[in-house]
Each structure stands twice: as structure tokens, then as C-alpha cells.
């Protein structure tokens, strides 16, 4: 009992490593930013990072049950363009519009889950195809970028309250009010059990099919949240935002210590990974590097961070252990 806290801290060393890395990168960013560590600087940083963090959360739920969701970016784009039609007007319209947008995300996720579970398709393949469908619908809803999202609401969601960026409050709210309670429920445990070993979970009575559909539904819901938040940041709808977010969400969760083989990692890790990626990009912008060299250095840092995170091959005692991962 005495070392429960150290156990918890070291439970996932990669997550700890990621958190330390993020702290250093953020300190460097705030230290080198020309206008210093003001609320304004922090808010812009937090908004950008939260966009990716929400998609990374979506990806996390899919990966947790040993599935990869290539449609998170497309769902995000679809929800973004739907929001650009519905989230404006009176308070009632705003509430109705936001709820509809999130339902669209949830529905897309459930469709993914049902196709994967009952069509017996590999998640990566099934979502590759549904991504085309959702992306197509998004393009149909809004062929060219445009539309409007309520400015007052967008301001309220992207500025700060008493010096604390609202984006960070949203993230904290998701962790404290959703993730930590969820982990203690039977469903939360089932997510980890199904991801660790679907067969063992099934044999001990876990409703594996329902759990997997639930995980993809959550992925859809969070992708929907991400699409809505993009709307708050840009106040328009754009059907073309998907692909980059899909690929970055995978990089983000891996940086945050989530294992692609399923069953390992936490929502907090996914958030940390996303914040690392965006902090690196932000650092590049003020680094004084020539603009043309920035994407290259960014790619190098990404590869290095992934290599260090994944290189516990150097700690293996036995070559055979490498194959278990």
C-alpha cells in the first residue's frame, strides 16, 4: 500500500515519459515566445491542442479495443459542416443544433461498430471505407467551405475564464467528469478486457460485441465533439479537414503511450500525446528556424519521439519477448 502512488505513476512509464516531455516542451515554448506566457498565448496554444486532443480521444477508444478508426477525421469533417448549418440563432436553436451534431457523430460511430462486429471486418479496413462515405456526405452537405457558427457561443468556448483557457477547462471536465468515472464502471473495465484479450473477455462473460460497438460509438461521439470544436475555432464549416487529423490522431495516441495492439493506455495519455504534437508545431513557429525547414524538423522530432517511445526493444531480456508486443 505504501507505494501505491509510485506504482500508479510508473504503471505506464511511456505515459510518464510523455508527460515530462510535454512539460519541457511547453516550458520551452512559453519561455521563447516573443510575447511571453500571457493568457492570450496560452489560449491560442490550448485551442489548437484541444482540437487534436479531441480527435486523439476518439482514436483512443477505437484503439483500446484493438481497432483502428480511419474515419475519425471524416466524422469530424461531417460534424463540422453539419454544425455550420445548424449551430446559429437563438439559444434553443443552438442547443438543438449542438445536440444534432453530436448525434450525427454518435450515429457514424455506431454504424462503424455494427459493420465491424456483424460484418466481421477488420476495423482499419471497414473505417477506410466508411471514411469515404462520411467524407462524401460532408462534401455533399457543404461542397465549398463556408457557413456560420454562432460567434458568441464560439467566443465563449475558445476564450478564457479568469485567465484559464476554456479549452483546458473542457479537457479537464472530460477527464474528471467522464473518463475517471467511466474507468470504474463495468463498461470501462470491459473496454480494457476486450482490448487485452477478446477471447478471455468473452469467456469470462463480457458482452464483447456490445463493448466493441460501444467503443466505436464513443469514437464517433468524440470525433463529433472535435468537429464542433473546429467550428468554434474557425466559425465556419469545411469538408476537407479530415485526412490530416486522422493520421495525426494515430501519432498522438502512440506518443501518449497508448499501444496499437489494444488494452494499454489511457485517455489522459492520448490527451498528452496530442498536446505534445501541437506544442512541437507551435515551438517550430517561433523557433527562428527558416520557415521552409520547419516541416522537416517537425517530422524529425515526431520520428524521434516515436522511436524513443517505442524503443523498449533495447530493454528486452530475451529476443522472443519482442514478438509478444
Amino acid at each position: 500500500m505504501s507505494n501505491a502512488w509510485s506504482d500508479r505513476l510508473l504503471g505506464n512509464p511511456r505515459e510518464l515519459f510523455a508527460a515530462v516531455f510535454l512539460a519541457m516542451a511547453l516550458a520551452l515554448y512559453l519561455g521563447t515566445h516573443p510575447s511571453g506566457a500571457s493568457t492570450y498565448v496560452l489560449t491560442i496554444w490550448a485551442n489548437q491542442a484541444t482540437l487534436l486532443a479531441l480527435v486523439a480521444m476518439a482514436q483512443f477508444f477505437a484503439v483500446l479495443v484493438r481497432g483502428l478508426d480511419l474515419s475519425v477525421g471524416a466524422i469530424m469533417a461531417l460534424c463540422n459542416v453539419v454544425a455550420s448549418h445548424l449551430v446559429s440563432g437563438s439559444a434553443l436553436e443552438l442547443a438543438f443544433g449542438s445536440a444534432t451534431v453530436l448525434l450525427v457523430g454518435l450515429a457514424c460511430g455506431i454504424v462503424n461498430g455494427v459493420i465491424i462486429v456483424y460484418g466481421r471486418l477488420q476495423p482499419i479496413v471497414a473505417t477506410l471505407a466508411t471514411a469515404a462515405i462520411y467524407g462524401g456526405i460532408a462534401l455533399w452537405v457543404r461542397p465549398t467551405p463556408g457557413g456560420i457558427i454562432d460567434y458568441d457561443l464560439a467566443d465563449r468556448m475558445t476564450l478564457d475564464v479568469a485567465g484559464v483557457p476554456v479549452a483546458l477547462i473542457i479537457i479537464a471536465g472530460i477527464v474528471l467528469l467522464f473518463w475517471l468515472p467511466l474507468k470504474r464502471t463495468g463498461f470501462g473495465l470491459s473496454l480494457y478486457a476486450t482490448g487485452s484479450s477478446e477471447q478471455a473477455a468473452w469467456q469470462s462473460g463480457t458482452p464483447v460485441a456490445a463493448v466493441r460497438i460501444g467503443a466505436f460509438a464513443l469514437a464517433g461521439l468524440f470525433a463529433g465533439l472535435a468537429g464542433t470544436y473546429v467550428g468554434f475555432v474557425t466559425t465556419t464549416g469545411d469538408a476537407g479537414i479530415g485526412p490530416n487529423f486522422t493520421l495525426n490522431s494515430i501519432a498522438a495516441i502512440v506518443l501518449g503511450g497508448v499501444a496499437l495492439r489494444g488494452g494499454v493506455g489511457s485517455l489522459i495519455g492520448a490527451i498528452i500525446g496530442a498536446f505534445i504534437l501541437k506544442t512541437i508545431s507551435a515551438l517550430m513557429f517561433f523557433s527562428g528556424l527558416p520557415p521552409l525547414a520547419q516541416p522537416f524538423v517537425e517530422g524529425l522530432i515526431l520520428a524521434l519521439a516515436i522511436a524513443i517511445g517505442g524503443a523498449d526493444v533495447l530493454r528486452l531480456r530475451n529476443r522472443l519477448e519482442a514478438f509478444e508486443r
Binding site: R120, L128, I133, F323
Partner: protein
């Protein structure tokens, strides 16, 4: 005895699909049945098919290569830059240099996946990001200057005896790959690793070097695809490879290759590339908008995969 026959049927699906698509299309536009239209389609399909050939080898191994877009892009940049010098000596090196770039990228992918054992999905993604960044650095963010060499244009757009050269290149590559997959130990090792890397390693196979070879083959195929595309467009341009990543994976998968590795058919991949090209072409000729094209595209892939799976369950009973 069931296994090989089942595999053949999986591989036949996209071929049957191609025939159905052409026949249905010809009801609306009779020209779809003309030889000229079909020959043009084989040329377009060859670009996708060459890329899919490399992707298939890696997927068979149980990995994936997401660096296809910028491997292709760099091969195009290198070949057009060398050809654009106008110096015959440099022009002669355009294609070999592009292929060498592809092989080097394959080695880099192999280092991360085989030596450091980083999941290929993230490592190749990171490599793609580095390639993108370095091309921005190299080209200054503009479309690279340069043009295709005469040989590149000939391979991509020329015809021999009426048959597109690109199609002939694809056939030659296919014969080589079929030999590699079915007549050499490398092919057996690829499938064995796809089934169980641990068991294959314990049986004394150098799984690390096999993984390296697979990624180098993939890099070479992506580079060849880049050379052909640059020859076709007579230039290299920024993010020319991005639209190919998903169709390439789709071509491999609807051809009956399992995304988990260990089971697959190269003939099916060829059919997959043909099917996707024909479907895209016919949907665009019918003037169906981009939005509905994507919806139809996604739906058809899901239907084909589900049908394959249902049939597989029938036969395994």
C-alpha cells in the same frame, strides 16, 4: 483442400466486379465496351497497380506502409529534376536515381519496423512526415522545376503495338512479383511471418532481413509508381501522392489480402487495382459529383468485403 480454392474465389471477386462495372456502364455509355476505352483504363490502372504491388507485399507480412505518398513524391521530384537538367548523362540517371531513393526509404522504414520494432503504422507515418518536410526544404514549397525524361514519358504515355507501355511495365512487374511470391523462399517466409513471426523466427528464418526486403520492395514499387506518374504528368507536384494512399490499400484488401497478413493473392491485388480504376472512371464519366462518387466508392468496398466474409464463413462450415 478448401483453403486454396477459397483464396482463388477471393481473388476473383474484383475481376468479376470489374466485368460487372464495365457491362453496367456500357448500358449507359456503349463506348465503355470499345477496345480504346479499355486500353486507356489499363494505362490508368497501371499507376495504381504498381503502387498496390508494393503495398501488397508489406501487407502480406502483416505490416503497412503509409509512406507511399511521399516516397512516390520524392521519386517524381528526383527523376524530373535530373531529367530537367537537359544533360543526357543526368537524364539517363533519372529513373535509376528515383528507384534508389525508393530503396533507401524502404531501408529507413525497415530500420524502424524490423530493428526498433516500432509499429509500422506509426513509423512509416513519421517517415512520410519527414519526406514531406524535406521536400518542402528542397523545393522551397513550390512545385519543383523539371520535366520528365523522354524515357519516362515513353514508359508512362507511349504505346507498343497499341498497348500502353505503362500496362506492359505493370505486367512485367507482376510476373516478377508472382515469381518472387510463389517460386522463392522469400515468398513463403513473407506469408509465414504474416501468420506468426515468432514461429517463423524460431524455425530459423532471419525474419529481420525478410522484413527489410519487403519494405525495400515496397519502396521500389512506390518509386516506380512515382516515375510513371511524373512521366504521365510531365512534372512532379506537391502532394501528388496523397490521393493514392487509400485507393492503394483498398485495392490490396478487396483483392482478398488480409490486412492482418499471412493470407493473400497478388492476382487479386491486380484485379483490385483494375476494379477501383474502372469504378472511378465510370462514376466520373457518368458525371456523378465527387461527393456521391466517394459515397458509392465506400459502400461498394464494404459490400464486397462483407460478401467475401460471409462466403468464407459458409465454406468454413
Amino acid at each position: 483442400m478448401n483453403a486454396p480454392r477459397r483464396l482463388d474465389l477471393d481473388a476473383a471477386m474484383p475481376w468479376l466486379g470489374s466485368i460487372v462495372v464495365v457491362l453496367l456502364g456500357s448500358l449507359v455509355f456503349p463506348t465503355f465496351l470499345s477496345l480504346e476505352y479499355l486500353l486507356t483504363q489499363t494505362q490508368i490502372a497501371a499507376f495504381l497497380g504498381v503502387l498496390a504491388a508494393g503495398a501488397m507485399v508489406v501487407i502480406l507480412l502483416g505490416h503497412i506502409d503509409l509512406s507511399v505518398p511521399w516516397t512516390l513524391g520524392w521519386a517524381a521530384i528526383v527523376s524530373t529534376t535530373l531529367a530537367g537538367t537537359g544533360d543526357p548523362l543526368w537524364q539517363a540517371f533519372a529513373i535509376p536515381a528515383a528507384l534508389a531513393v525508393g530503396a533507401v526509404i524502404g531501408v529507413i522504414n525497415g530500420v524502424g519496423v524490423a530493428l526498433f520494432r516500432i509499429p509500422s503504422m506509426v513509423w512509416t507515418l513519421a517517415v512520410n512526415a519527414i519526406l514531406l518536410g524535406s521536400s518542402v526544404l528542397f523545393t522551397g514549397g513550390f512545385n519543383p522545376k523539371g520535366e520528365a525524361s523522354p524515357l519516362m514519358s515513353l514508359l508512362a504515355t507511349g504505346r507498343s503495338f497499341g498497348v500502353p507501355n505503362a500496362f506492359l511495365v505493370w505486367i512485367a512487374l507482376s510476373v516478377l512479383l508472382l515469381w518472387l511470391l510463389h517460386r522463392t523462399s522469400l515468398g513463403r517466409y513473407l506469408i509465414a511471418i504474416g501468420h506468426s513471426e515468432k514461429a517463423t523466427w524460431l524455425s530459423g528464418v532471419g525474419t529481420t532481413s525478410v522484413t527489410f526486403v519487403a519494405f525495400v520492395i515496397a519502396g521500389l514499387c512506390s518509386a516506380l509508381g512515382g516515375v510513371l506518374l511524373a512521366g504521365y504528368a510531365n512534372q512532379a507536384y506537391q502532394s501528388m501522392g496523397d490521393p493514392y494512399l487509400m485507393p492503394v490499400i483498398a485495392a490490396v484488401v478487396i483483392g482478398g489480402t488480409s490486412i492482418l497478413g499471412g493470407r493473400g493473392s497478388y492476382i487479386g491485388t491486380v484485379g483490385g487495382a483494375l476494379f477501383i480504376t474502372l469504378l472511378t472512371s465510370i462514376l466520373s464519366v457518368m458525371q456523378i459529383g465527387e461527393a456521391f462518387r466517394q459515397i458509392v466508392f465506400g459502400s461498394i468496398i464494404i459490400i464486397m468485403l462483407v460478401v467475401q466474409n460471409l462466403r468464407r464463413r459458409e465454406t468454413s462450415r
